[in-house]
Point group: C2
Chain length 362, copies 2
């Protein structure tokens, strides 16, 4: 078992990573103060892991809510339904929420825990690679709005993150690849050694070999924790974590959530960021090729697989949280492991890249 600490003063917590954690009472019980637990999960995850977790929670009063699967459910309407259920019990302020599932479940359950009676504790139990390497760490919670992804949410740090790698064995291959996009992202942002390690070990990681997987998740979480510790509420360096995400969110918004998986959209978004960086003379073409090659080996798209409209993408990007004084801020690359935030880029290069990838001709 590996442990990664996220140091945020009174809001500090640990991410524990390893196989079989869900079977262990000790994984959960010392981190639950009250007598009541409210598990939020979904219809895909529940049949596999819900009973296991309920067993590990024996002795507590356990309530549960099983949501439909998919990004489409991540909205205020579903949050309202969860509040209705919690207040119907009524769940006390001393209760702990457990998010058992992927990023959608984690974001929603975290948001609901943050707002229920002005905030109750919650534990993240990510069961997808995407959630284990990224979304369960850092305290971002949110729901989507028809006009933009993650537009309604708040920062609410979990009490603990429990990443049981055994849950990844049953994960759908496309979902698995989607998670790899975020791991590759950390290499691209500021960890060239990890990027090289991924180049050397991608086959083992894709074969879900336990030790390679554990290392990949640990390294990703450490990278993310280091950035979150510096900038909990995204007023500075944390914006680097949005590499590929401004383009990616726009792709998701423009195509309707669900057509592209999050990591797929981010993968193409990272290619677009690299493309712009090359056109601006910042990034060597060779490095861009390393990026696309690694993403492809992880089973991720590096060109448009659906017909995207450049203007629609641009409109969606204007609503993005990263817009400042009308300029869309982007994360660009000076090299692999050298990402930076910029709103100083030629509009023509930005338009060219949108045209190149979003017209579906690439």
């Amino acid at each position: 078992m590996k442990t990664v600490k996220v140091g945020l003063g009174v809001r500090s917590y640990e991410i524990i990573i390893g196989p079989g954690l869900l079977d262990d009472r000790e994984t959960f019980q010392p981190w639950i103060a009250g007598a009541e637990v409210f598990i939020v999960t979904n219809e895909i995850v529940a049949p596999w892991y819900l009973q296991k977790v309920r067993k590990a929670l024996s002795g507590k009063t356990v309530h549960q809510m099983v949501l439909p699967d998919g990004e489409q459910t991540k909205n205020l309407e579903t949050a309202t339904r969860i509040f209705d259920r919690m207040l119907g019990i009524p769940l006390s302020r001393a209760a702990t929420v457990i998010a058992l599932g992927g990023g959608v479940v984690g974001d929603m359950a975290g948001f609901v825990a943050a707002c229920y009676q002005r905030g109750i504790p919650f534990i993240q139990v990510p069961t997808t690679l995407l959630a284990q390497v990224d979304s369960s760490v850092g305290g971002k919670t949110a729901v989507n709005h028809p006009l933009g992804k993650n537009m309604i949410g708040i920062f609410h740090q979990p009490k603990r993150v429990i990443a049981d790698v055994a849950t990844l064995v049953t994960l759908d291959p496309r979902e698995y690849s989607s998670g790899m996009a975020e791991a590759i992202k950390y290499g691209m942002i500021n960890d060239p050694d990890f990027f090289s390690w991924l180049e050397e070990n991608m086959e083992r990681v894709m074969a879900r070999e336990a030790d390679a997987l554990e290392y990949c998740i640990e390294k990703s979480c450490k990278n993310k924790a280091a950035i979150v510790e510096q900038d909990e509420q995204e007023s500075g360096v944390r914006a680097l974590l949005n590499l590929g995400h401004t383009f990616g969110h726009a792709i998701e918004t423009a195509t309707g959530y669900g057509t592209w998986l999050h990591g797929e959209a981010v993968a193409l978004g990272m290619v677009m960021a690299a493309h712009m960086s090359v056109r601006m003379g910042l990034l060597a073409t060779e490095d861009m090729n390393r990026v696309t090659a690694l993403l492809q080996r992880a089973g991720l798209p590096v060109d448009s697989k659906t017909r995207l409209c450049p203007d629609e993408l641009k409109a969606a990007m204007k609503t993005d949280k990263k817009v400042k004084d009308g300029r869309i801020r982007l994360v660009l690359l000076r090299g692999i492991g050298q990402a930076f935030v910029s709103s100083q880029y030629p509009e023509s290069v930005f338009n060219d890249t949108l045209q190149h990838y979003a017209s579906g001709r690439a």
Copy 2:
């Protein structure tokens, strides 16, 4: 002009109190970092003060949303409408929300600011006595749920609170009295001198004499700030601020929001807390009489003015945030200025008090 500081580390802010503050650019402009402002107000307040505030904000891009009046609008549906509007603009993350109005506007606008793109700055401009002495201070934001008041919300501190006492001149007398309930509460909790001052000066305060009013608001804010500084997120001493509120919220829930004004329900709630305290031998009857006399002089109800059902009240109290392990925690009194939190009270006394006041016979 008086200034009360609320010391909360990086989230510290000032409450400024005085006449004519809304006419002054300097009241607002130095506290607004971005170019955009989003004013949330209501149909009662807008005709009086919206243009004034817009003028003080000249040079900024000012958006506004005018809500219907009343506690009935304080729910997730209205919050959703505000989000729709903000994203429709689209309002950037650098924008500042201004809450111009009473407690309902402040709670809603604060909640929306807290959740919009995971939190943007907001300024409280309370225009009712209740909001000036209580709800605009301390960072509590929330919306109601059919099953309970303020059940969905979070802590989000404002950048500044601007209490222009000139706005109170136009305030409806019932609303004005409602605010006085909270001022009297501070005296009852831990400031017997302020309670005595109110006994001596109630006529002047009720006549809305500027200097008495300014003192009353300053003293209330100082008392509240001192408690909030000790316990920002209500894990301890802040619970004292709920004196009268557990009963009060139940009255509001059971009768449907709007029949009783908040301060009216709190006033009767404080009488009920005093009644229980007397029955438990903690409080002298004479002190309870001082409480009821002062509340009456402030134009507040001290017995049931609508037929309340004890069982209904009890059910509503069970959903209250103050419930811990099934016990309803109450704020009781050992004397004027000596409030304490307790879940150790005889159930029979609690039932007697409910019966006494909630049956409408008192």
